[in-house]
Assembly symmetry: C2
Homo-oligomer: 227 residues x 2
DNA sequence: AAGATGCTTCGGTTACGGTCGAAGTATGAA
DNA sequence: TTCATACTTCGACCGTAACCGAAGCATCTT
């Protein structure tokens, strides 16, 4: 009837509860098999298979065959960013499944959001960067300052490599549990990777929670003091 | 089942063709009546009414009673931004309704995107700003420079008032016809308003097209020379 | 008051899409 | 080869939601 992007098509893809559950599970950032996703969505594998092929066809998911397994991930950073966006919008309108209360305290404290840190700790980290002038915030847009570049360099993060991709270095992402922004983008990704690699924290097996070790937590809190 | 934002709910709202048509029509930025939206969606008023109440309930639309009319608009800039986001994503995956060809040349040349200028002219404007250093682009994030601030001041745009709202001043928005970014945010809005107020262009009655006058076009092109 | 216009609500129909059981395909293990 | 695992395809069922006609409100006009 009209020309233009087919928003109904992708809206429909996000609009089914089973598919939404799968996508939420994939926000953990790691590749999951069809069976795992079926379990996450609470449907049988046949149903999940049907959903997964639709999501792949729609360009939201990508699959990687490995032996007799098929690992599914979000197609790219753009798909993850859109998902984050929708989550933030839904949260801002109060559209939460079940209560917004502290169901799983660990999740509210620190969790993975596709490939970066979210939750209380994620928000605190961004706040801290902004407070000390390492990142400048203009309402929504974030940019790294020279001071920030230097600080991250001493922390052992290869800042130069972050700017190589076309994905933005700093990006704000609305946190649905805190209702404030945390840090996404390649820098957000690199920081989370840094915490995990240096043993400050590890990922939970069952959920998207990020579990800090006592020592890692001490380091994190001293590096990012509360405002 | 799980906690978190209810992305399925808002996905479903965007996922129906009739609703998507209405939302696309509202991307024109002006308030429309239920009857007009029904026509845009190609359904009867009863059906449209049902859709509209769902969209309002979901926080995507807001309505304003005026006499026996009810004017509907996008609820706020966040709703418009999300819609743009989805449009950009859909376009990036090639999900276009009908062909991507030049169906309506005027639309591809210049059109309204919620409240700012899109299409060839919108892309050209942003490119030009970036080329002359009035706006700095960091992949996705855009920031106005001091030079830009000065230039816009002499153009007769009240730069100070742009920064007052919580909405970002400069924001990039993926253009589905050009597949490149144009300028959104309060600055994008102010610039479009400036063009319309000063008679450089006027809005088409039937579509989202922006029609430049010969004189306005000359001014626009000299102000934003092609790269 | 009576009529007209704009919109919503109600009721009933219809069609599409989500669902699962059963069967089919592919890969790996024994 | 034979069996087991992981996943897809097929077919049938069923529920939901989109849809419209008719009736009901609300507001403005005359």
């Amino acid at each position: 009837m009209k020309e233009g992007p087919d928003i109904a098509r992708i809206g429909m893809l996000f609009g089914d509860p089973a598919r939404a559950n799968m996508l939420t599970a994939l926000m953990g950032g790691q590749a999951l098999t069809a069976t795992e996703l079926a379990q996450a969505a609470g449907v049988t594998v046949q149903t999940a298979s049907s959903h997964l092929s639709k999501l792949e066809e729609g360009g939201i998911l990508a699959q990687r065959k490995q032996g007799r397994h098929r690992y599914f991930t979000l197609a790219d950073a753009a798909a993850g960013a859109l998902l984050e966006n929708i989550m933030g919008f839904a949260a801002s309108r109060g559209h939460l499944r079940h209560r917004p209360g502290p169901k799983d305290p660990a999740l509210r404290k620190a969790r993975v959001c596709y490939d970066h840190l979210a939750g209380d700790y994620g928000v605190r980290m961004l706040d801290s960067f902004v407070a000390r002038g390492a990142i400048e915030s203009d309402g929504e847009n974030l940019t790294m300052t020279e001071d920030g570049r230097a600080e991250l360099g001493t922390l052992g993060i290869d800042v130069a490599s972050l700017t190589s991709s076309r994905r933005p270095v700093c990006k704000s992402c609305l946190d649905w549990s805190e209702r404030r922004s945390h840090l996404a983008g390649t820098l957000g990704k690199a920081l989370l990777a840094h915490f995990l690699e240096n043993g400050w924290a590890r990922r939970s097996d069952e959920s998207r929670a990020v579990l800090f070790t006592p020592d890692g937590e001490r380091k994190f809190l001293s590096l990012f003091p509360a405002g």
